[in-house]
């Protein structure tokens, strides 16, 4: 028996159902969870953050380099090194927001959008799977699919990520359509608020959207070393992704469930916590 009262010979799913030993908080859990505990002095150093999008322009000053960029070869259904960078600008905009919040994180890019893609959602699945299998702790998904044929596999990937401590941050839809993965309970779904604090975010008491982060009139990186002002949930999600990187650099042991709980605990309560 281990000190948790669990027989080491038993597989994880056969934990005993009795015993108060399991009803204790992890040793690292603080009695006082505030922003200082969560991310004080953190730069997100060493945390792998993947941007699954249109590619990322790693040369952009606001992005400051990326560790690796891949693309999904839609025809061969395989992963290849990405030589093209960002084909439309969306991924670079998201990556710049993450870098601004977590300058020490390691950024990765999986290009699943743009010319050459069918837009069917198959590339999204392959790119997301690559990000999860590569060991990213945070994956930003400022996109969604409406194709029901992909929902099953997407759900399976989201759950796989959840149980291997990879947190998926997905921008929510503010339109009356069924789209995914932001509706899944295993991801963190993000909508926009009108505030201007980059660390200002709120818990939503009425899910499926779980958090609101800055997404209105945001200065974002643009291919060609420029910047532009943009509005949309696409830019709210990377704010939460950046904050998750800050927290995970300080508390790498957190599961996605615990990370979401910490976010809820330190969320803004009014005014600007940026």
């Amino acid at each position: 028996m281990s000190d948790t009262g669990h027989d080491e010979e038993l597989p994880a799913w056969s934990l005993p159902t009795s015993g108060a030993a399991h009803a204790v908080r992890p040793a690292w859990w603080s009695e006082r969870i505030d922003r200082e505990w969560a991310w004080g002095a953190s730069t997100g150093e060493g945390v792998a953050v993947a941007v699954v999008d249109s590619g990322v322009d790693g040369e952009h000053p606001a992005v400051g380099g990326i560790q690796r960029a891949v693309a999904v070869d839609d025809d061969a259904e395989s992963i290849i090194d990405d030589e093209e960078g960002d084909v439309c600008g969306h991924g670079t905009a998201c990556a710049g927001i993450i870098r601004a919040l977590a300058p020490g994180c390691d950024l990765y890019s999986a290009r699943v959008l743009g010319p050459g893609y069918t837009g069917s959602g198959g590339a999204l699945l392959d790119g997301l799977e690559w990000a999860i299998e590569s060991g990213a702790r945070v994956v930003n998904l400022s996109l969604s699919t409406t194709k029901s044929e992909f929902v099953g596999r997407l759900h399976e990937l989201a759950d796989r990520a959840y149980f291997q401590r990879t947190v998926l941050i997905a921008s929510a839809h503010n339109m009356p359509v069924n789209s995914y993965p932001w509706r899944f309970a295993s991801v963190i779904s993000v909508g926009s608020h009108d505030g201007d604090g980059e660390r200002e975010f709120y818990v939503n008491a009425d899910p499926p959207v779980e958090f609101f982060a800055r997404g209105v009139d945001v200065e974002v990186a643009w291919p060609g070393e420029g910047v532009i002002r943009a509005t949309g949930n696409s830019f709210a999600a990377p704010h939460i992704a950046g904050m998750c990187a800050l927290i995970l650099a300080k508390h790498p042991e957190l599961t996605p469930f615990e990370l979401k709980s910490v976010l809820a605990q330190i969320a803004s309560t009014g005014g600007n916590d940026g």
């Binding site: 969306h90 839809h173 339109m175 643009w222």
Partner: protein, 210 residues
């Protein structure tokens, strides 16, 4: 029976394209008015050619842009088509390459642009854009919500147009031409209708004899 069905479908197809276009035009005109914008546009995503096509325009470009095409991966319209996420940007002219891509989907380079995907069922069928609401007015999240409502209407109208075109292609050009004539005659009344009926009857008699 097959001919009857074909004729019935042709009769249904004839004239409906125009009605659906009026609906689309109405959507962009209301959207433009609500946002006090310089222009508003609706694009259809042509999957066969991977292009976006101007289907309706209100304001700037109203008389010149309908029917124009550009690659679906370009500019803001391309963004929202593939990400399925509404978006607004300001001052795209700061980047020349991007400005030219935006201009492809607008006819000029606007100072402010809101765009929303047209989602119908599981498909992204097009994009709606609103260009240059007043410069003094800050774009809000509520603006994108509002545009989403117009997008929903436009998506339904676009879906009807595409169904209509598929039906027209299925029944063939000749039957559609006859059905178009029937629809025109059906829309008349009074002396004009009487005259049209006599003319159609005379035409039928003439063709029957030949």
């Amino acid at each position: 029976m097959a001919d009857d069905l074909r004729a019935a479908v042709a009769a249904g197809v004839a004239g409906s394209e125009g009605a659906h276009r009026e609906l689309l035009q109405s959507v962009v005109e209301v959207a433009r008015a609500i946002f006090a914008a310089r222009a508003a546009s609706i694009f259809l995503f042509d999957e066969a050619t991977d292009e976006l096509v101007f289907e309706a325009v209100a304001g700037h470009g109203e008389t010149s842009l309908v029917g124009n095409r550009f690659p679906s991966s370009r500019g803001i319209a391309g963004w929202v088509l593939v990400t399925r996420q509404p978006i607004a940007i300001e001052d795209p002219a700061t980047d020349k390459r991007f400005a030219s891509e935006v201009a492809a989907s607008t006819g000029y380079t606007p100072g402010k642009l809101l765009a929303c995907p047209l989602l119908h069922g599981e498909r992204s069928v097009g994009v709606i854009e609103v260009l240059d609401p007043p410069a003094s007015r800050r774009v809000t999240a509520a603006d994108l919500d509002m545009l989403g409502l117009f997008a929903n209407q436009a998506a339904i109208a676009l879906d009807l147009i595409m169904r209509n075109r598929r039906a027209a292609a299925a029944v063939g050009g000749e039957a559609t031409a006859v059905a178009s004539l029937a629809a025109v005659v059906d829309g008349l009344d009074g002396p004009q209708r009487d005259a049209a009926d006599r003319m159609v009857a005379a035409l039928a008699e003439l063709l029957d004899q030949s």
